[in-house]
């Protein structure tokens, strides 16, 4: 019998159960970013690296395309309206509001913002992969990079 001995044991058992459920569901998504950790243990380290690269690859592609599209929409609206635009980018909340009103400045700012946030998302993605793989050392390293980026985000706002 596998009876949990303490409260933490029970939590851990529950966590494992949830994790297994999650793994089973994602298994169907063959081309998903994350693969089953057990499967992974059997294969060479090279494949792990390839999985990681694939995840990173996807974030970069999507971020770049979205940002280029936003910029092009902004430029198109700008050319159609020919208004004088602000000479600095807008703060995120204002940019989203302006974009909803179909103003060029909103799309232009959002395009720049998505471009800047793509590498940040890439770091978050890598962090998730390392935590999932239980690779503590690299999770900490990637966490450090993320912290530095968040500090600069905060300094920019302050």
């Amino acid at each position: 019998m596998n009876v949990p001995r303490s409260r933490w044991g029970a939590t851990r058992a529950l966590w494992r159960g949830l994790r297994w459920r999650w793994i089973e569901t994602t298994r169907a998504l063959r081309r998903g970013i994350l693969r089953r950790p057990r499967e992974r243990k059997k294969v060479a380290a090279l494949t792990v690296t390839r999985d990681l690269n694939e995840a990173v690859h996807r974030i970069l592609v999507v971020g770049l395309i979205v940002s280029a599209l936003l910029m092009l929409i902004g430029v198109a609206i700008d050319l159609a309206q020919r208004q004088t635009l602000p000479t600095t980018v807008l703060p995120p909340a204002q940019a989203i509001r302006q974009a909803f009103h179909l103003n060029a400045s909103g799309f232009l700012s959002l395009g720049v913002l998505v471009l800047i946030l793509t590498p940040l998302l890439r770091v978050v993605g890598s962090l998730i992969v390392f935590v999932w793989e239980r690779d503590g050392r690299y999770a900490v390293i990637t966490g450090l990079v993320l912290i530095v980026m968040l500090i600069s985000l905060w300094i920019g706002q302050a």
């Binding site: 990681l52 990173v56 690859h57 946030l117 590498p119 990079v145």
Partner: protein, 268 residues
């Protein structure tokens, strides 16, 4: 203005991708000296285009498996710290000082351009982060490890610092150190350096964005133009002699460096 910047950026993107040099080195002098754009706004614009090129090239490199992702992650700790410090410094110091520093760094770039290592030193597994990739040219599998990590870490901090301060990628510092000191094959070093550049540039770009140094009317045509140019560059590359191009480019940069230093010292 928009269209003019777009075309300048295309030309710079073509030149940059043919010579393996980022656009910032050439764009910032053109923006400040000829278009009269304030240097901090020029840096804000190029840092955005640096992110764009890094993401675009990363898509190709990572897909090919050339990037040493784990090494990149470790060195990113250093480059982002450097970029953070550089970004703060750039916001605080006077434009004249910034111009002077740019001139000096430009001289280093000119010096090191002719000296980019052609062949790597002996590449071998060292037991530190060993990895294998397939050389796209020869089809051979290359296995290598990392050497002199502390020195590489220091150089990465410096590269990140220069990148955050001046809005350039910083590959010109990282790649030679990775190849000559850390024992990374040239192709892997270029790919890994490019991988780090996106995160590094984004770190300082966050500061520039928040502080209002990014002008979308300058930054966006720059980013789009560089992206277009970087696609065209490799296609045109075969028709021109790279060596002649490199000499021309170096000559141009010397003129720019002198002008930047001159303006920094005398004001104006």
């Amino acid at each position: 203005m928009f269209v003019l910047i777009f075309f300048i950026a295309i030309v710079v993107g073509i030149l940059g991708s043919m010579l393996g040099i980022g656009g910032g080195v050439l764009l910032i002098p053109v923006f400040t000296l000829f278009l009269g754009i304030p240097i901090k706004t020029a840096i804000g614009a190029t840092i955005i285009s640096v992110i764009a090129t890094s993401s675009a090239a990363g898509v190709v490199y990572v897909g090919r498996g050339l990037t040493h992702t784990r090494l990149g992650m470790v060195l990113e700790v250093a480059t982002t710290l450097g970029a953070l410090a550089g970004g703060i410094t750039a916001v605080l110091i006077s434009p004249r000082a910034l111009q002077g520093i740019f001139g000096v760094v430009l001289l280093y770039v000119i010096y090191s351009m002719g000296r980019l290592p052609k062949e790597e030193a002996a590449v071998a597994p060292t037991g530190v982060m060993d990895t294998t990739f397939m050389d796209p040219l020869t089809g051979a599998e290359v296995t290598y490890g990392v050497r002199n990590m502390p020195l590489g870490f220091g150089a990465s901090f410096l590269a990140g610092n220069v990148s955050g301060l001046l809005g350039i990628g910083g590959g010109i510092i990282k790649v030679p150190v990775m190849v000559l000191v850390m024992g990374i094959p040239l192709k892997a070093a270029i790919a890994t350096s490019n991988f780090m550049i996106g995160v590094t540039a984004a770190t300082s770009a966050l500061i520039y964005y928040g502080r209002g140094y990014i002008d979308p009317q300058i930054a966006i045509p720059t980013a789009l133009g560089i992206l277009v140019g970087a696609q065209l560059g490799p296609r045109l590359g075969g028709r021109m002699r790279t060596m002649t191009l490199k000499r021309l480019f170096q000559g141009l940069l010397v003129v720019f460096a002198v002008q930047m230093l001159w303006k920094s010292l005398l004001g104006g």
